[in-house]
């Protein structure tokens, strides 16, 4: 395999056919840029006419096609509207694999289809504060948050944790956090999978991963991770707003973080071992980062056990961060803080789905291994996986945008189960490199610009703030419009930034 060169990808010129509103298909007989690709299912990209040209700009569709070549994939190799070029799998990619097909090879699990930051995700907290309560004390609020939430390169968590506790929390996730008093039972019941992925096997997590995790539990991280104070400035779905407890003018807090060094190391460890697995099971790879193992293999079992452990670590990490936010807001405002929901962006989960399309297994309802890499679960009304008090309106889907413009809260629709294995977008996606952003916004330019708009930014350095400049990201409103057009989820509330802590 010849490695692709690290130059900026040029426009993709492969075949793309509109098959429904906001849904475009790469046909199964597409042979790839080198003419030697064999796709097992078609590729499908969710995007409206505004976004589609931008998507073709970075050749991410080629990765959608590459994923379609993996054994045991069913339905379609999917991409959400915030898709961009990733490692092997595109960011914004969704793919489901059958562990027990009636014909053809067993489906696979691929660490590259989950990502390095296992269970990177977002938690949304609601408060009893109105934006007019917070604005007069906004600077103080963000300063207190900045001191309360460890962030940035070299930041360590303040939660001292021994080996026994680390093993327990990898096994039990948010359940462990509830027992420690870090979150309430009500909070826990409003997390995806109630904050605990079954099947975690901490014995599959390396000592290196555990050491990295021990030091970073309860810290935000760096890059695009953040804790942002926002307010609801528009609402659409009255029933969903009532169920989720959100209303116009309400102050909310969005936390974006993942499994920190523990998850990163788990992925790094298994990416190495999966290179050998791919050879052992004779799985041809068009891209080394698609390394995988059959779902019924011991190697897959080891990875899934370690991945679940890392997922549970991430749930606890976000719980500790949420507790820090809660304490800070109580101190400054005497606020009551509760959890709206918590979603995972990078995960592989066992879920039951009816296989769409007309490929292998089409029409049958089966237990599949669904990979979401930079994509969010979006179950519709009535699904048993949605918390009881939200079931009538569908699962909350939290979509961060950027720190200058807006983020969104959506509700999952039944269409997501038919079209995208119950999945939706996860954010805005970058449109400008970090280097270009740093050149454009030098020194304190960006922080001052946002302050002029009434948005307080506390970052560990001006460089970090510049890299995350709002205009370095695509317009999340267009991403959300695409998701609505395709029937995956719909708008419930628009959230505007007041202030943000960044690492």
């Amino acid at each position: 395999m010849t490695p692709s060169r690290l130059r900026r990808p040029v426009s993709w010129d492969g075949p793309l056919t509109r098959v429904a509103d906001g849904i475009h298909e790469i046909p199964k007989d597409y042979r790839g840029q080198n003419g030697d690709l064999t796709m097992n299912v078609p590729g499908r990209i969710i995007a409206d006419d505004h976004l589609l040209p931008h998507i073709a700009d970075d050749k991410a569709p080629e990765q959608v096609a590459n994923v379609a070549s993996l054994p045991g994939i069913v339905g379609h190799s999917l991409a959400m509207p915030d898709i961009h070029w990733g490692y092997g799998f595109p960011i914004g990619g969704v793919a489901a694999f059958d562990p027990d097909p009636e014909e053809g090879p067993t489906g696979v699990v691929s660490p590259g289809g989950v990502g390095f930051d296992i269970n990177c995700g977002v938690r949304l907290l609601r408060t009893d504060l109105h934006v007019d309560d917070v604005r007069p004390k906004l600077r103080t609020t963000i300063d207190v948050l900045f001191d309360a939430v460890p962030a940035g390169m070299g930041s360590k968590g303040r939660t001292g944790i021994g080996d026994r506790d680390l093993v327990d929390l990898m096994h039990d996730g948010a359940k462990w956090a509830e027992q420690q008093g870090i979150l309430t039972r009500d909070d826990r019941l409003h997390l995806e999978e109630e904050g605990r992925i079954e099947g975690a096997d901490p014995s599959q997590v390396s000592e290196r991963a555990m050491t990295r995790g021990r030091r970073t539990l309860g810290s935000l991280g760096s890059g695009n991770h953040f804790a942002e104070v926002q307010y609801v400035d528009s609402t659409w779905d009255e029933a969903a707003c009532k169920a989720y407890g959100v209303r116009d003018g309400q102050v909310v807090v969005m936390i974006h973080s993942g499994s920190r060094g523990l998850g990163h190391q788990v992925c790094q460890d298994f990416l190495q071992s999966m290179q050998s697995s791919s050879k052992k099971y004779d799985i041809p790879l068009v891209d080394r980062q698609l390394a995988c193992a059959p779902l019924d293999s011991p190697e897959a079992g080891s990875y899934l056990g370690a991945m679940a452990a890392a997922c549970n670590f991430a749930f606890v990490n976000r719980s500790v961060l949420a507790a820090s936010v809660r304490d800070a807001l109580q101190r400054v405002h005497g606020a009551q803080v509760e959890t709206v929901y918590d979603v995972c962006h990078n995960i592989a989960k066992w879920e039951e789905h009816t296989i769409p399309g007309d490929g292998p297994g089409a029409g049958s309802t089966k237990r599949l291994c669904v990979h979401r890499k930079g994509a969010t679960r979006a179950y519709g009304p009535g699904h048993p996986g949605v918390p009881g008090d939200y079931r009538d309106v569908g699962q909350p889907v939290i979509v961060p945008g950027d720190m200058g413009r807006m983020s969104y809260l959506l509700a999952g629709d039944a269409g997501a189960m038919e079209t995208s294995f119950g999945s939706s977008c996860h954010g805005a996606g970058r449109r400008m490199s970090r280097t270009a952003a740093k050149k454009q916004w030098q020194g304190r330019t960006l922080v001052d610009e946002l302050a002029g708009q009434g948005i307080v930014v506390r970052a560990t350095s001006d460089q970090v703030a510049a890299e995350e400049a709002p205009l370095a990201y695509k317009d999340v409103a267009q991403v959300v419009d695409s998701v609505e057009l395709a029937g995956l989820a719909h708008k419930v509330a628009r959230l505007r930034p007041l202030g943000v802590v960044k690492g």
Partner: protein, 155 residues
Amino acid sequence: MSPARRKPKHDPGAWSIKSHTADVVLEARGRSKETALARLGTALSAVVTGADDPRRFVADEEMAVSIEAPDEEALVVAWLSELLWRLESEDLLWLAGGVDLSGPPDALHLTALGNAARYDPKKHGQGTEVKAITYHGLRFEREGDAWVVDVLIDI
């Protein structure tokens, strides 16, 4: 004088950090594979500190590394992963040093001895946290009279 104690000569083309949409590409060059790899380590330290040239930091101690890998691509990933591990577990930041390569192509062995600083965000700066080292587009090949290594790191 041991490799760790030689003052590195200034070479503006030694390594660079390049744009890539959401992440960062490290590129290092050297007359030998070993030199390119040593400079790649310094490039990684530049990302995590945000410093133009980490070789200007005062060294606190020596760092010794020994790793093995089944091929050159895996070796590059293992080398940077090891430096990342040492930073995160021991707060040791690679500044500069020497690398030696030995072994057959399917059982490569890398040993390194270099200057390292005890990482302190207040003293060395907070750049960008590196999550992991990827194989994406990795190249390690001869270009003219230099060896060039390109690696994309996930941040």
